[in-house]
Symmetry: C2
Subunit: 476 residues, 2 copies
C-alpha cells in the first residue's frame, strides 16, 4: 500500500500544497490579526540570508541604511495625489495613543516615500549633497483583503531604498542599476530563479512613479510573481515636499528620485519556484543550513563520526548542522529535512563507518536520480561538498529557466494570450497588438500584463519602443 503523501500533491491543488508546505516545514503561521503572519525560525532563517545577500549588494551600490518612523502624519500621504489614491484603501490608522484620542490620526507606513521626502527636503541643500542614497529595512502595513502567507500579508518585512539625484539621467540609471545589479543579480545568482526583467505598463506602475521596473518569476504552476520593483519617481515627490538643491550654477532645482523594494514575498517565490511534492528545495547559496549530518543511531562511534564531519565541513566553510536526535525515528527526521529542503543530507550509521563512508542524499538532484543518494568516503566530503552544492545551485536555475521557456508561448491575439495564461503559462505578445485597451480587457479575466520587454530580452526605454513585447500571465 502506498504511503499517504506528506503534502497535498502540487498537481492536485497548488495553493493547498503551498499552505501545507509552509505549515509542515515550520516556515510560518497565520497571525491573530487577519492577514498578519508569524515567521517561524526556519522561515526567518531564509529571510535573514536574503537580507544578508541583498544588504551587501545594496551597500556595494553605495546606499547607506537608515531608519524612519513607523507612524506618518495622515497629511503627508495626501500631498502626492496619485500616491494617496493608490494607498488610501489599504491604510491602518492609529487614532489613540497614551490613553487619549490623537489630535491628528497617524497612519502606519504602507511605504515611506512621503516621510522620507520630508527629511530629504531638509538634508539636501546643495549639489554636493547628491546623490543621496538611503535604504531602510522595515515592516510596512497594507490592509489586505485576500491575504496569503508571504505573498500578500497585512504586515510584511522589506527593504525600501530611496534616492535623490541631480539629474533625470542619474536617477534613471540608478533605478536600472538596482534593478539589474542588485535585484536580478541576487535573484538569479542566489535564489536560483530565472526572473524576467521588464518595465511595468502605465496601469501597473507604482502610485506616484513615472516608470516602474520589475522582476517577474514563473512559479511552479505557471503563474507569475512580482519579486521586486525599482521605480523612477521623477520629480513628483520632490514637488510635493519641496525637495530642492542649489545647483553648481547657483539655481534652485528639484531633485530626481528613485525608490525600490523587495520583501518577504520572496520567501513565497522561493517556495513556489523550487518546491516539489516532498517539500521545499533551498538553493545552496541561500541555505541557512547547507548540509545536515544525521546520526542514524546513537552509538558512540556514530556520534563521534558525526561531530568529526561537522567540524570538518565547518572548516571548509559550509553551513552545517548536526541532527543527533536519535530518540526520534530516523525516517521521520529524514522526511523533516526533505520538507525543509536542506540541500544535502549526510547520513551516518554503524555499517557505513566500517567502510569509512556515509550516505550523501542530494535534495535538489533528487534521491531517485543517478547520484542522488549514494555512499561517499567521509574523508572526501569536505572537497566533494562544495562542488555538489554549486552543481545543485546551477541545476535549480536551469530548471527555473527551462520551465519558463517551456511554458511561455508567443501569440498574436488577446484571446490566445488569455488562453495561454489561463492554462497556466505565460504569453508573449507584441505590445502594439495588445495595448492599454487589450490590457484592460484581459484584466476582466484576471490576466495581467506582467511587464514589457524588448525583443532581445532587454528592458525597453519607453512603453512604445518599436518591437516591445508584453508578458501576459495570471499572477500572485
Amino acid at each position: 500500500m502506498a504511503k499517504a503523501p506528506v503534502l497535498t500533491p502540487r498537481a492536485d491543488d497548488f495553493p493547498r500544497w503551498y499552505q501545507d508546505l509552509i505549515n509542515k516545514a515550520e516556515l510560518a503561521d497565520n497571525g491573530p490579526v487577519r492577514g498578519t503572519m508569524v515567521i517561524r525560525p526556519y522561515g526567518y532563517g531564509l529571510w535573514e540570508r536574503m537580507q544578508q545577500e541583498l544588504d551587501a549588494r545594496i551597500k556595494e551600490a553605495g546606499a547607506a541604511n537608515a531608519y524612519f518612523p513607523l507612524f506618518i502624519p495622515q497629511s503627508y500621504l495626501t500631498r502626492e495625489a496619485e500616491h494617496v489614491e493608490g494607498f488610501a484603501p489599504e491604510l491602518a490608522v492609529v487614532t489613540h495613543g497614551g490613553g487619549k484620542e490623537l489630535d491628528e490620526p497617524v497612519v502606519v507606513r504602507p511605504t515611506s516615500e512621503t516621510i522620507i521626502n520630508e527629511y530629504f527636503s531638509k538634508w539636501v541643500q546643495s549639489y554636493r549633497d547628491l546623490p543621496l542614497l538611503i535604504n531602510q529595512w522595515a515592516n510596512v502595513v497594507r490592509w489586505e483583503m485576500r491575504p496569503r502567507v508571504f505573498l500578500r500579508t497585512t504586515e510584511f518585512l522589506w527593504q525600501e531604498g530611496h534616492t535623490a539625484h541631480a539629474t533625470y539621467e542619474d536617477a534613471r540609471d540608478y533605478a536600472a542599476h538596482i534593478h539589474r545589479d542588485v535585484y536580478a543579480d541576487f535573484m538569479t545568482g542566489v535564489l536560483g530563479i530565472d526572473v524576467v526583467l521588464g518595465r511595468k505598463t502605465p496601469k501597473e506602475r507604482f502610485a506616484g512613479a513615472i516608470n516602474t521596473l520589475t522582476l517577474e518569476g514563473m512559479m511552479g504552476d505557471g503563474k507569475a510573481l512580482q519579486m521586486g520593483t525599482s521605480h523612477e519617481l521623477g520629480q513628483n515627490f520632490a514637488k510635493a515636499f519641496g525637495t530642492q538643491y542649489l545647483s553648481r550654477d547657483g539655481r534652485q532645482e528639484l531633485v530626481w528620485q528613485t525608490s525600490w523594494g523587495a520583501s518577504t514575498r520572496m520567501v513565497g517565490g522561493l517556495i513556489m519556484s523550487h518546491g516539489d511534492d516532498d517539500g521545499l528545495r533551498v538553493p545552496p547559496r541561500l541555505a541557512p543550513v547547507q548540509a545536515v549530518v544525521l546520526a542514524i543511531k546513537g552509538d558512540d562511534a556514530v556520534i563521534a563520526a558525526v561531530r568529526e564531519i561537522d567540524d570538518r565541513l565547518k572548516a571548509a566553510g559550509i553551513r552545517v548542522q548536526v541532527d543527533d536526535r536519535t530518540d526520534t525515528p530516523f525516517g521521520r527526521r529524514a522526511v523533516d529535512w526533505e520538507l525543509k529542503g536542506v540541500p544535502v543530507r549526510i547520513e551516518v550509521g554503524p555499517r557505513d563507518l566500517e567502510s569509512g563512508t556515509a550516505v550523501l542524499a542530494r535534495r535538489i538532484l533528487g534521491k531517485h536520480s543517478p547520484g542522488g543518494k549514494e555512499p561517499v568516503r567521509i574523508d572526501e566530503l569536505d572537497t566533494l561538498l562544495p562542488k555538489v552544492l554549486e552543481e545543485d545551485q546551477a541545476l535549480l536555475l536551469r530548471q527555473s529557466r527551462e520551465r519558463r521557456e517551456a511554458r511561455t508561448s508567443d501569440v498574436r491575439t488577446r484571446d490566445e494570450a488569455a488562453e495561454a495564461a489561463t492554462a497556466g503559462g505565460w504569453a508573449r505578445i507584441p505590445w502594439a497588438d495588445l495595448g492599454p485597451e487589450g490590457e484592460a480587457r484581459l484584466a476582466e479575466q484576471a490576466v495581467t500584463v506582467r511587464c514589457l520587454v524588448a525583443e532581445d530580452g532587454s528592458v525597453p526605454d519607453s512603453d512604445d519602443a518599436p518591437g516591445t513585447l508584453a508578458i501576459v500571465a495570471r499572477s500572485y
Copy 2:
C-alpha cells in the same frame, strides 16, 4: 579670541550638549509624530554594529531569530493582570484598517510576551520541545510623555528574547546567562561601558516578571542609564496563555519563561558614556568606521597615497573610509570626524609624503595627550593601527570604570543617598537600611534604586539576601 565651541560644553548644560551632539554628528532627527525619531545613516551604522555583535552572542546562546506581528489583539494584553496594568497607559491603538472601523481594535506591540505566548502554547507539546529559545529584532511603540532621542522614544528598535523552559532552575539560569554572557559581555567588551549587573527591586520589576536583572551604566553627568534587562517571568504568562508541556513522566506542566531586551537606547548610552566636548568617541570594536584617511589636499600624489593606505588597512581587517572631499576645507572635515568620534584619523598631506609619513590623530586618547597626534610611518600603519585601536578600546572602559568608582559613594542613610544622587553620582547603601519604604521616599526626589548587588559585586539570589546593597541614583 577663542573659537566658539562646536557643542554646548557638557559642564554648562549636559542635556543640551547631548542634543547638540546628536544633531551635529548627524545621528538622528526628531520625527514628525511626537516622540518618534529618524535614525540617520551614521547613527544607524552604530546600531547595525550593535545588532551584529549582539546577534552573534544571542545565536551563540542558542536562540534563533523569528518574527511576530506588530499588531496584537487588545484582548491578549489583558490576560496577564500586572502586564496590562504596566503597559495600558503607553499603548498606541489602531481602530481603522482598509477604510473600515475594526471589529476589535488592535494595539501596536509595546513588547511581545502576550502574542509570543499565544504561539508558544501551540508549538510546545512535550519536554522534547524545550527549551524553546526565540529572539526577534523589531520596532515597538510605547507612547512617551517626555520623549528624548534614543533614550525614550515613542517608537524604538530592539531585540526581545523569549524563552520557555521545563524547570524554574533552567529558566533562572538562562536569564542569568543572557544577562552576563550576552549583555554584559557585549557592553563591557564592545561598548566599553563598565556596567553594573544587579537585580531590580520589586517596585522596578518588569510588568509580569518575578525577577528582573539589569545592567546599569553611569553616564558622563553621573546619572544612571538602564542599558538592558533580562527577566524571569516565572509561570505568569504560561498560566495566562496555557503554555504547557507533557513531562517525561506523562504529566501536563506549565513552562517557566524568560524575556530580555536591549534597544536603540544603547546608542544614547554610548553617547553619554564616551562623548566629550568635541563630540562622540566611538569604541574601536564597535565603530562602523575605525579609521578615516583624510587627503589634506587634492594633489595626485596625496590621493594616490590615501588610496594605498585605504587598501593596506582594509587588507589588515580594519574598517576604513577615505575622505577625499578636498573641495571642503580640511579643518571643517577634521571637526566633523571628531564630532562623529571615529577612533583614528590618518591625515595625509604633500609635506608628509616626502618623509613617508602621515599624521595619526587618536580621537579617544585625545589630540592634546602625549601620542594623541603625531607623525607615523605610512608603511607601519597596518601593524600599528590594530594595537592603537585595542589600546583605545581599553582606555574607554578604564575611563568608564574610573568615573563610576570616583562618583560612587558608600552611605548609610537615605538622606545621604539622596544627596549623593542629586549631586550627580551614585550612592551605595545597605538595602536592609533603605528598604521599600526608603525607596518610595527617594522616588519623591526623583531618585531611584537602580539595582541590588551583593557585597562582592555579584548579583544577589533574592531581594533580602544578607549584605545586599542598593545602588541609588538619578536616571534617564
